[in-house]
Amino acid sequence: MTDAVANIPPVVLPKSNAEDRISVATQWQLTWWRFRKHRMAMIAAVIILGFYIVILFAEFFAYSNPRISNEELSLLPPQPIHWFDEGKFSPYVHPVVGKRDPKTFKKVYKPDLETKARIVFWAEGFEYKLWGLIPSNRHLLGIEGLPPEESLFLIGTDLQGRDLFSRLMIATRTSLTIGLVGVVLSLFLGILLGGISGLYGGAVDDIIQRFIEIVRSIPTIPLWMGLAAAMPPTWPVTRMYFFITIIISLIGWTVMARVVRGRFLSLRTEDFVTAAELSGASQLRIIFRHMVPSFLSHIIAAATLAIPAMIISETSLSFLGLGLRAPAVSWGVLLQQAQNIQAVAISPWLMIPAIPVILAILAFNFLGDGLRDAADPYG
């Protein structure tokens, strides 16, 4: 019995294997292993990946032309898909017939239960240019033999009779890219000013820090409202888009600058920086070759955590009608129709665009959290 116990191979072996693995792993491998353990962050990463696919192929997922309005189909309720027909997988919808109620003059839509409109995949629809380059008319969904603009309404239509789902796809691209571009802008400002602040210290540091404090102690939303309202209504969509992005990134950079400054301050006294200095590396080389790589992961985490605030800002501004305006389609622009509580009470599906907003904000928060934990794989 005792012999048998003694013959069992020592249990420490697999552990030391793991230790070996850790000691030869690169920084990025360690970060990835650490990140993988954070389950919520992994789920969030998958969701964000889905959002990015929508960004890349928004027109493909949108089956109706998001700009074509049709008064006849105003405020049509969501149309459920029937996935199976007589036991076989063959998705179809019942076409909708609209009538005016003779008493209330309200438009009432009734599904025509007799006929079945078959849903086809990889269908032909409105023409678009993928990434502004490749002309195409392929869409994920379509209806056999009918233009989708008149037959398919997954989550209903808005006041102007435009298909909400298709508009939501385009809006996702607008709103999420505003967040991304805004983060890149504020990263640039943050690294520049935070870097100068942390590197030089002294009076420069003092001035920049006071400046950040001032920026942070002014209520931001009224200020943005003021700046955004000064935007002439005649501006084209793209210019409006960039102006809003710039306004929004005016907040993010202060947070970023603080993170960068803190890192610079703590790294400045590290041995490897001194070693690089002593071996005659130039200032720029020390910053970009030695210091930046060692806190890049922190920057990525901070940037991810800054995106939700940007999304909320854009959505709030556009919701108020001060951000992106009508021809542009963004989450906030879509939610603007949900502003009127009576309208929402009659057609609650107008609130559906809120779901991706909340989902995106939560996903970026969880992802940022996971990245922040993973950024310190030795901690």
Partner: protein
């Protein structure tokens, strides 16, 4: 401590000055000047202004002078409490704003009191019972609070109230009969009864964040050996936790108030719009839509001033609560 105070007040003045420049930029942004806009506005309502009057107005605001002179003139008028005319209303800005500014602050402070009152016990609970079902539940709620933009929350609550409880108007700060009544104890009490809803909506995101900060701080503190010692010496659990680690963890928690305040004031503008609260929010919005940037700029500046004062007061309270800040300041000077 006095040196600290002086420095804080100086920093506050600096912020107000920066805010005044930003507000002035907002006023200057539209093409033309305030008087052209004012005249155009009067003309659209049918009244006419003579050239001499226009000239007098231009001179009063110094619009015929370089920008920096205009800025100083404007600042001078502001300092005298002369905030100019609100075009849309054709009344002095001061009258239009009325007690809306104070009400904005009342709503914001109510939200902060609410944030603190809720976040503190939940944070302590979550840290003490780490990884319990309650902890997961509150963490989830906290994340939801952070995830839902507060105007969305306001909309959903309005919708639920309208659809399921058949309440026509949940918003507002006063009941119908007190709307235009002068201030009285009854009116004040009526307002207090209306405050919880906007406070909850405004506070959700803040609560989410503060719960997480409090939880993290307290977890760090609970790990320290002095907690174990105190427990080993026979102190009861409540006493151990509430008397020492919570007080220590409260400091970084309390310092967040400085940035929570501008954040809440900021959020109150949008929430007020959705809930139609009589704060400066709807007024600012209308001014911006009507391109009355003069009124908007004034509101912006007044909001910034109120925020700076609010932050300063909260800093002073913090200093009074926490001896370490007081001592630290004395020690460093």
């Amino acid at each position: 401590m006095i040196a600290y105070l002086v420095r804080r007040i100086f920093a506050g003045l600096l912020t107000i000055w920066a805010a005044s420049i930003l507000s002035f930029i907002v006023i200057q942004l539209p093409p033309g000047d305030y008087v052209t806009a004012y005249i155009a506005n009067l003309q659209s309502t049918g009244s006419v202004i003579s050239a001499a009057e226009a000239q007098a107005l231009r001179q009063q605001y110094g619009l015929d002078q370089p920008v920096y002179v205009q800025y100083f003139k404007w600042m001078g008028l502001m300092l005298q409490g002369n905030f100019g005319m609100a075009m849309e209303y054709n009344r002095p800005v001061r009258e239009v704003i009325g007690d809306r500014l104070v009400l904005t602050m009342v709503v914001s402070i109510a939200a902060i009191v609410f944030i603190w009152g809720i976040a503190l016990p939940i944070g302590i609970y979550s840290a003490v019972y780490k990884y319990s079902i309650g902890d997961y539940f509150f963490t989830f709620l906290a994340f939801l609070g952070i995830g839902i933009p507060n105007f969305m929350l306001a909309l959903v609550i309005l919708y639920v109230g309208f659809k399921y409880f058949h309440v026509q108007s949940i918003g507002g700060l006063f009941s119908q009969e007190y709307l235009s009544a002068p201030w009285s104890v009854a009116k004040f009490w009526d307002m207090v009864k209306h405050l919880p809803l906007p406070a909850v909506i405004l506070g959700m995101a803040g609560i989410g964040e503060l719960v997480r900060i409090m939880r993290a701080n307290l977890l760090d503190e609970l790990r320290k050996p002095y907690v174990v010692t105190a427990r080993a010496k026979g102190l009861s659990l409540t006493r151990v936790i509430l008397k020492y680690p919570v007080r220590a963890a409260l400091n970084p928690f309390a310092s967040t108030i400085g940035y929570i305040f501008p954040y809440v004031v900021s959020g109150s503008i949008i929430v007020s719009l959705v809930l139609s609260l009589p704060t400066v929010g709807p007024l600012l919005f209308k001014a911006l839509i009507a391109q009355d940037l003069f009124l908007a700029g004034t509101i912006l500046l007044l909001l910034a001033i109120m925020t700076v004062i609010g932050t300063l007061i909260s800093d002073l309270i913090l200093m009074w609560i926490d001896p370490r800040i007081r001592m630290g300041m004395e020690g460093s000077n």
